[in-house]
């Protein structure tokens, strides 16, 4: 029984150093890509593109450098659950922020109209609006 498990584990990790080299190269290429596209003015597409590239890079690291690709399923479950809760955190908070009335934002204005210099406060913390403004 134990022997069988050992064998299985060895087989699961049986691959040459080539796999690591390929992943390393891919990560470098993605880094260059994100720097180059980060310089370009793609408007609203900049942030999603940067995040997609970062997510692909992170996925490569997790699956192949950290061996989640051929790890026991329980490890995948643990890490997956952590990611799910990160999503819950982000979706919950942004579900709140994005659906507020503009006046209910801490900055007192719709966030998308904020420009440099327009703010009543210069110290960056959510400004207290003078009563009755």
């Amino acid at each position: 029984m134990a022997d069988h498990k050992d064998k299985h584990e060895d087989e699961a990790h049986e691959h040459g150093p080539g796999r690591y080299v390929v992943i390393w190269m891919a990560l470098l290429v993605f880094t260059i890509t994100t720097v180059v596209t980060g310089h370009m003015d793609l408007g609203a597409a900049n942030l999603p593109l940067a995040m997609v590239i970062a997510t692909v890079k992170a996925t490569l690291v997790v699956l192949f450098f950290m061996h989640l690709w051929d790890a026991e399923g329980i490890n995948r479950l643990v890490f997956g659950v952590a990611i799910v809760f990160v999503m819950v955190l982000l979706l919950g908070v942004f579900g709140d922020l994005l659906t507020r009335m503009p006046e209910a934002l801490p900055t007192g204005q719709p966030a998308h109209t904020l420009e440099g210099g327009d703010m009543p406060s210069s110290h960056g913390m959510p400004a207290h609006r003078p009563h009755g403004e």
């Binding site: 690591y20 720097v35 490890n75 643990v78 952590a82 955190l89």
Partner: protein, 227 residues
């Protein structure tokens, strides 16, 4: 039979398993023990992800409020140094993965070399980060009430960018230091000849921690330097 089992267990860790000093007596086999170690590490990494997620959330909320200020403040970071540090970390992640591979193939010498290189990468990362921090200190681009960066005075919320910048990269740098300490310990044991194809779990778990450091940076880099 049962009495001999009991005496074997009473005799200490090694005796119960034919003298394998690495196998704790409450585990059936090395495979079971490795599964447990690995699972424990992934649970810990899960909490690390959640720890950093809080800071990423703070970043997202303030960036949402002060979009233009974040963009302007980000342009004051050195993209060149940030990119070099990204390459340094990715390369160190690669070499630590190769060290794990070498240990499993029984090549401790190569593993020691690769681990040494990884630790040097960590030192290089911290030095470059230090140069960047020093630049920010000179400019007054500091967190919270210490913020006095005159070029950014027209941008309310710019101090929040630097607050988030120092908190995230600071916590990350702390992880680099801890990861370095772990790798130095792993390197010492590798040189001492503790690891071979039958016992390599400290190299694997130390490597996993180091990959997490890389993972966090993969997200920090575009969010801080490329907006």
């Amino acid at each position: 039979m049962s009495s001999s089992d009991a005496s074997a267990h009473g005799g200490g860790h090694g005796d119960a398993h034919g003298g394998n000093p690495h196998l704790a007596h409450h585990f059936d086999s090395m495979a079971t023990q490795n599964h447990a170690s690995r699972l424990g590490m992934w649970l810990f990494l899960g909490t690390e992800v959640l720890l950093f997620a809080g800071l990423f959330l703070g970043y997202s909320v303030y960036r949402h409020f002060y979009h233009e200020a974040f963009r302007a403040a980000s342009h004051h970071l050195s993209l060149t140094l940030g990119t070099i540090n990204t390459v340094v970390l990715i390369t160190s992640s690669f070499t630590v993965a190769m060290a794990y591979y070498s240990v499993k193939k029984g090549n401790s010498k190569a593993a020691a070399g690769l681990l040494t290189f990884t630790i040097l990468c960590a030192v290089a990362f911290l030095c470059i980060k230090g140069v960047e921090y020093n630049e920010k200190f000179q400019e007054g681009a500091l967190p919270g009430k210490w913020f006095h960066f005159h070029e950014m005075q027209g941008y309310p919320g710019a101090n929040m960018f630097y607050t988030v910048y120092f908190l995230t990269t600071g916590l990350h740098a702390f992880h680099v230091i801890v990861g370095m300490a772990v790798l130095i310990w792993v390197l010492r044991r590798t040189i001492r000849g503790d690891f071979d194809k039958n016992y390599y779990i400290p190299v694997e778990l130390g490597g996993l921690y180091w990959h997490l450091v890389d993972l966090v940076w993969i997200f920090l880099f575009p969010l801080l330097y490329l907006i």
